[in-house]
């Protein structure tokens, strides 16, 4: 057997390689084959049962668009979407896991949100469906659809926690969230007032 010029690894390093390889082989299929285990043991802690978070600052992801979830996971991992909480948690997820989690959560039944201020929601309703002509805010329904369900290109908003929606709009506005395609959401959020954000988030909660 001729190994050419390759240096001999030595028994200890060969052993290390072998165990690492074995570990990977053993761990990967287990994770990839059962994203529901990851979802119900890891994601569960913040995103709640089946992705229906009950904590307003953590988003509901049940029924979210598959493509969107997978994109966010990839971008947390790559740093394109900055998030101190998510980054350490999702380390070790493979692309397959991320795709699997996207599919799994998208198939979960979304629990409805709750409007807390009906009057405010009515203000938000107008913004959601009509936009604000004077400031150039497009209607949300243009992309996110009239029922807030989104589609392959745009995330689902319906039933989301008010606090989370407002936090994301603010993050787009101040640029701390910068993983929107072509800066479109940053352009929209830049034109929104704080009051408009709260109103539209209130309406979205009831969709």
């Amino acid at each position: 057997m001729n190994c050419g010029r390759r240096p001999h690894l030595g028994p200890r390093r060969e052993f290390a390689f072998a165990t690492a390889f074995l570990g990977a082989v053993m761990a990967l299929p287990a994770m990839a084959s059962d994203v529901s285990t990851i979802a119900t043991t890891v994601c569960f802690a913040c995103h709640g049962e089946n992705g229906n978070s009950i904590t307003p600052i953590f988003p509901k992801i049940a029924g979210q668009q598959r493509v969107y979830i997978t994109k966010q996971l990839k971008e947390f991992a790559s740093g394109k979407r900055a998030n101190d909480i998510m980054v350490p948690i999702i380390q070790g997820l493979s692309d397959t896991d991320m795709a699997g989690l996207g599919a799994w959560f998208s198939e979960q039944k979304a629990a409805p949100g709750k409007v807390e201020d009906g009057e405010l929601a009515m203000v938000g309703k107008r913004l959601f469906h009509e936009g604000n002509v004077s400031t150039g805010v497009p209607a949300c329904e243009g992309c996110h659809q009239a029922d807030g369900e989104g589609n392959e290109r745009y995330p689902r908003l319906a039933g989301q926690h008010q606090a989370y929606s407002v936090s994301q709009l603010n993050n787009f506005k101040n640029g701390t969230r910068a993983n929107d395609r072509g800066k479109v959401m940053r352009a929209v959020a830049e034109r929104l007032s704080e009051d408009e954000m709260k109103a539209v988030a209130e309406y979205i909660a009831g969709l």
Partner: protein, 248 residues
Amino acid sequence: MNRYLLALLALCSSGLVLAATAEVQPHAPGIESADYIWNEMDSEKLLALRAKVNLGNGKVAFEVCQGCHRANALGREDGSYPRLAAQHDTVLIKQMSDIRAGRRDNPKMYPFVNEHVIEAQEIADIAGYLQSLPSPASNGKGPGADLETGKTIYEKRCVSCHEKNGSGSAEKLYPRVNGQHFAYLLRQNIDIRDGVRRNSNPKMVRVIRQYSDEELKAVADYMSRLPPPTVATAPAATKMQKAPAGAR
């Protein structure tokens, strides 16, 4: 040393601020510049004019526009956003390209139509999709106070390009004006007359220059009442194998 450091810091932080905000429209020379050529071709416009169009992709790509231009591209009756349905694909391609290049100023629209949002192929797809949409006679009309003046001016000065029925010309890139909202037509009339719409055709500027606001209002009113087409016209852009001639 400290001053350099401060300047560097300022530069860095301004860069960060810029990164956080929307895309800003560039500024390209237009009608105000001496060597302006109307409808001068650039590679992007040519690419879009010659592209093989996919209407399904156009519908999807148009979603980012419909928050303002509304579903089915009917625009708003108050003219804040124009109707795009049934407009010639060639005209739509020209306008999108001009806004992308900064030849037509529209800082409000730019963040949604720039190259990071809409690919060159999608310009063609969107234009084809929009042209295929029906344009019902529900567009915003003017007050109807002086339609005689409007008709007289229109038939004397506008029909040679925009046609008697307001259908314009896809091949010559003259926009369809029938079915368009009165308030939008009026705003464009005034902006073209006053040089604000910088990608205007100089031939039109020469014609429109002599008219008062009141006269332009009458013409816009008359145009808004021209009946829109009942059947969609065939796409013209894909048939354009060579560049349409720019106006002299």
